[in-house]
């Protein structure tokens, strides 16, 4: 049936439709690619005269003003035109400015990558620490959990996690030290000051196949890994390998990046200073809450679902001790974690050009030693002898608690925060063990969960305003009436910052515990995540992997 059209007219119509569709498509893609910034995989277009600036962050090149409604538009336009005129007269100066801008970004890329490698090494430290704290018969299994955590969480983060967390970072939180990553500029859910999930850079390709983005990605993936392996400390000695892999995929793909987007990816929590006038928005410098509290409260939810180890609690509820099988590992592991933290905290400036890294490094150490000393003294007073494992946990507690405020406080506050963490971790361990009876073999819930929350809140108490002017886009020139005032806490006059910190840190705990509990209670209902009783009594090494950590001869070839 031809419906009255002749064959040639039908052909013409077909050709015309195809032609029009092609034209539209071309126009659309041309429009889209012309509007979008281009990724820079070779790193040659990142860092130029526009990134050359002084120590305070004032750029060498005034930016071209685009907002005609701006009251300062005329002055800005004149400054830009004057610069353009001068640039024509001094071509060598412009070339030098390009070089300086590039070297500045290069310095910071080198810094960020190297501190990222230090954080990667923390993986080994945590593996040693937790292995030493558990029983010999489960040592190989735990080592494999730590190892597989890195592998599978990375896969999940590579696929979707990074895009969810940082796909929109250029909108509200562009990492200027690394050249800005302009290609990561889209929220998948939300937008403007109410972003919920990023939407660019899936599979770390396309807009993420870029030098600046890769720098950020390397640094951020090892932070995600930290949250991923924290759970091992609470779920070891009784979890099946397959369900553990599911946990890691969940953390890497969804749990960590979602909250991470809200706080570090330019999402809604970071913008509460602009949107609701709550201080500088929710602030967490290196991740007391984003990394450690997420890991710690996820661990808590999983530990509750799994239940305590067999024999841990007697019939009357008295806890039984399962002593560490290798204290050497525990101490060496703790030192490696301390060393790695020198990357974790100072690295979070994403730049060596930010000399606050020195203060951060010292604050980190002060909190570490204060936490450890406090734990040793408290335990000695309560039980008559300092406990080696609590001394180590105390140091880690101090490190976790200082992670959020490290850039914003002075040395005295850092020491105090360490002491508070030392107290909290001791109380937390005893509380988990004796009161709520949640079996946490390595203290992960207390060290990372409780002290992570403490870190988020401490920032709201102790931040002294000497750093962070313009954080999250708030108070770039003046804050609370003072020029150049940075992130400030309750003790220095900013109650709103304390409130947002308290709320945000608590939200983190509720979110991590709640989401994990809901998802894995469901999973556990379908197939139990815990090993069988026989396996648990024998030790997980052979049943799950067919290998022992410490085979004692007696192995004969078949």
């Amino acid at each position: 049936m031809s419906y009255g059209f002749t064959r040639s007219r039908r052909q013409a119509l077909k050709a015309g439709t195809i032609g029009l569709a092609t034209l539209c498509l071309c126009m659309l893609t041309t429009r889209v690619s012309a509007q979008q910034p281009q990724p820079d995989p070779a790193g040659i277009a990142t860092g130029d005269r526009t990134t050359a600036m002084d120590a305070a962050g004032n750029p060498f090149v005034p930016p071209e003003p685009t907002d005609m409604a701006d009251p300062d538009y005329a002055a800005k336009k004149k400054a830009f035109n004057d610069y353009q005129a001068q640039a024509v007269k001094e071509p060598l100066a412009v070339k030098l400015a390009d070089s300086v801008g590039h070297v500045r970004v290069a310095t910071n890329v080198g810094w960020t990558l190297n501190t990222g490698y230090l954080v990667l090494f923390m993986q080994a430290g945590f593996a040693l620490l937790t292995c030493g704290l558990i029983r010999k018969k489960n040592a190989a299994h735990l080592m494999m959990l730590n190892f597989a955590a890195y592998v599978f969480a990375f896969l999940a983060y590579y696929a979707v996690g990074y895009a969810f967390q940082f796909g929109a970072i250029a909108i509200n939180a562009a990492p200027m030290n690394l050249g800005g990553t302009p290609t990561l500029n889209k929220f998948l859910i939300g937008g403007g000051q109410w972003g919920w999930l990023g939407g660019k850079g899936f599979f770390m390709t396309g807009p993420a196949y870029d030098a600046g983005s890769n720098t950020l990605a390397l640094f951020e993936v090892v932070f995600m890994e930290t949250a991923g392996y924290i759970i091992v400390g609470a779920i070891c000695e009784r979890i099946t390998f397959w369900s553990f892999i599911l946990c890691e995929l969940f953390i890497g793909a969804f749990l960590y990046p979602i909250f991470g987007c809200w706080v570090w990816g330019g999402g809604w929590m970071s913008q509460l200073g602009s949107s609701l006038h709550l201080g500088h928005g929710y602030v967490d410098f290196a991740g007391s809450t984003v990394v450690h509290a997420v890991g710690g409260f996820t661990a808590m939810a999983l530990a509750v679902i799994l239940g305590p180890r067999l024999g841990k609690y007697g019939a009357d509820g008295t806890p039984r001790a399962f002593p560490a099988h290798n204290l050497t590992f525990v101490v060496v592991g703790t030192f490696i974690l301390l060393f790695g933290w020198m990357g974790f905290n100072p690295g979070s400036t994403l730049g060596a050009t930010d000399l606050r890294i020195s203060v951060i490094a010292v604050n980190t150490n002060l909190a570490a030693i204060a936490g450890s000393a406090t734990a040793m003294i408290l335990w000695y007073l309560k039980f008559g002898k300092p406990d080696i494992t609590m001394a180590c946990n105390g140091m880690l507690a101090g490190l976790v608690a200082i992670t959020a405020p490290c850039a914003f406080v002075g040395p005295t506050a850092a020491l105090v925060i360490g002491v508070l963490a030392g107290v909290l971790v001791c109380a937390g361990v005893l509380f988990n063990e004796r009161v709520i009876k949640v079996d946490d073999p390595c203290g992960a819930i207390s060290v990372h969960g409780y002290c992570g929350w403490l870190g988020g809140v401490s920032l709201g108490i102790f931040a002294d305003g000497t750093y962070g002017a313009g954080w999250n886009g708030v108070g770039a020139t003046t804050y609370l009436g003072k020029a150049g005032l940075g992130v400030t806490g309750l003790l220095h006059g900013d109650a709103s910052q304390f409130l947002i910190q308290l709320g945000g840190a608590t939200l983190c705990a509720v979110y991590a515990f709640g989401a994990t509990y809901v998802v894995f209670k469901f999973v556990n209902g379908i197939i139990p995540m815990r090993v069988s009783k026989e396996t648990e009594l024998e030790g997980l090494d052979i049943p799950e992997f067919g290998m022992e950590a410490y085979p004692e001869g007696d192995v004969s070839a078949a």
Partner: protein, 110 residues
Amino acid sequence: MKRIEAVIRPNKLDEVKDALAALGVTGLTAVEARGFGRQKGHTEVYRGAEYHVEFVPKMLVIAVVADNLVEAAVDAVLEAARTGVIGDGKIFVTALQDVIRIRTGEHQAV
């Protein structure tokens, strides 16, 4: 005096110790051991090579008891150490010539 040697599962040590202590047997020696009876070992693969593990970790518990306590002690160990699954172990009862306490030099010091 009799020597009671029990080869038991390692996770049963605390139960056996408590069971014997309840009877008044306060001295014990525990030795980490590996052994097998009818409990088969298992075959594993290590980097491409098969190997057979026959020896299973066990605990060897040694207690010296007075003659009048032997039967009760054996029953206590049986009850504490039994799971019903192959691999529960065995108890050996042997007669002792003498028991001397080193600190005081007393003989027949059960």
